[in-house]
Amino acid sequence: METCLEDAAWDIAFTSLRIGYGEHVVLDKITARLPSGKISVILGGSGCGKSTLLRHIIGLARPMQGSISIGGADLFSLTRRDFRRLRRQIGVLFQDGALLGAMTLAQNVALPLSEHLALPRALVRREALRVLKMVELEDFADFYPHQLSGGMRKRAGLARAIITNPRVLLCDEPTSGLDPVTAARMDALLLSLHAQFPAMTIVSVSHDLMSLERIADYVLVLKDGLLHFAGDLAALKASQDPYLTMFLSRQAATSLGDFSESMDERVVSELAKWFRA
């Protein structure tokens, strides 16, 4: 197991994967390989199961069928010990950072080190500050998460995810809810990380097309519970598939909602009264 993990290329492979909640299938027949040392983007509309897939890659949920392997090791066939050892090599940036509210930024970022390693406090803090500097948050080290903006929380979450130098970095919607400038900054951060740690496999779950353009080496597109496309960015752009063309050109679906039915008269008159009141 150790040899396998240390020597393997850290790619992430899905084989005939079926995932969901209870009886409800969210994604089915997913077979794909996210290449090691690249930035892969899992793309798809809202509610298509991107984040659910991410939760399965982290091992927070078990697939209904099929397998997920990381670095050649089948995630759900591992012993508990090996599974924990594998997961130590995975850093995760959650959607809103998922920072612990009772801790300062520095304490949050240092948590993986302070919990697992017997190092002097000063050294652990220095490491936390070093990583916070990478995400340009060193001046906010002693702030609490609620004192920061959404973008800052995400960057702090990224700092916590990379403090252990993981071989795999998973990012859940790293740019969602951010203004274009902050989103571009987040993308630049991921690219810098990729440049600094070329062996790191980075997977970003997103529906942000600008971000896709900037960072993606490899793309998976999910649609209607199935894998719709898997390939590099150039192949995605060259694709003539109607859905991909529509998605990439930000076009709405042809069948829009039914606007033919008008509002009930009583509602109209009550609303008019309420507006005047």
Binding site: F94, Q95, E115, H116
Partner: protein
């Protein structure tokens, strides 16, 4: 509804109940076992003792003094009919040490500290903080639940002892200072009637209540995301309410069982 459907629904309710009971038992055992294998539990326990114990002290003092005063009043007007007002010290102290001290302390702590445990852990659950701990290979049970259980096991008996002492002082205020019972008789009766068995029984109850209350409150918060009746912040609210209700019922039920065994 047809009898078959009714039976099916009853069966489902029973199965859900037993499943939840089993999950709760495993949760409680796991929380206790992690006390012994968690690094740095001491610091976290001290912080939780501050939240559960120190921050609850004032309310325990307040409830304790009024409870003792009411017992003093009620006891006096009951005993005076039989010409036994001298026994007021026994009545107040035994009632407090055996029953009211552990029960009221546990109920007050459920409302003050237990509900905040559920809400805090519930919010951590719905904002992915617990998942983040697990992903960082930090055992969330050991990190969040075990220190709270240990802190409660220490704080509940201590606060119960404080409640008992303050209650006895409350009884003294009404019985001796207001209604004029002999001060020496009040304290002599306490000394002669309260045995070490009573005190041990009270502490045993406090320990059992601590384990039950903390486990229930942490369990409800920890599994907030699995609630079928609500999601998100509403689920946290419902989990908190349910934790308080279940804890209070369990305190009274466990009190009956323990009293039956101890008497």
């Amino acid at each position: 509804m047809s009898p078959a459907k009714l039976l099916a629904r009853l069966g489902l309710c029973f199965m859900t109940f037993t499943q939840r009971l089993g999950a709760f038992a495993l949760f409680m055992v796991s929380a206790v076992l992690h006390i012994f294998d968690t690094r740095r539990i001491f610091g976290r326990t001290i912080r939780q003792m501050y939240t559960i114990g120190v921050q609850s002290l004032f309310v325990i003092l307040l409830i304790g003094i009024f409870c003792g005063m009411v017992l003093g009043l009620q006891g006096y007007y009951t005993l005076v009919k039989f010409g036994s007002v001298g026994l007021l010290g026994s009545a107040v102290s035994l009632t407090l040490i055996r029953e009211l001290g552990p029960v009221l302390t546990a109920i007050m702590l459920t409302g003050r500290a237990g509900s905040s445990m559920t809400a805090e852990i519930g919010v951590m659950r719905i904002t992915d903080q617990i998942d983040a701990l697990d992903v960082m290979d930090i055992n969330s049970m050991a990190y969040l639940v075990s220190p709270r259980v240990l802190a409660s096991l220490i704080s509940f008996p201590l606060l119960t002892a404080i409640f008992d002492v303050i209650g006895i002082i409350g009884g003294y205020l009404t019985g001796v200072l207001m209604l004029g019972i002999n001060e020496g008789a009040y304290f002599y009766r306490i000394e002669s009637s309260v045995t070490m068995t009573d005190v041990q029984g009270g502490f045993l109850k406090a320990l059992v209540f601590a384990l039950l209350v903390t486990s229930v409150c942490c369990f409800e918060g920890y599994f907030t995301h699995q609630r079928s009746d609500s999601v998100g912040p509403e689920a946290v609210g419902n989990a908190t309410t349910q934790a308080v209700v279940i804890s209070c019922v369990l305190i009274l039920a466990a009190d009956y069982v323990l009293t039956s065994v101890l008497l």
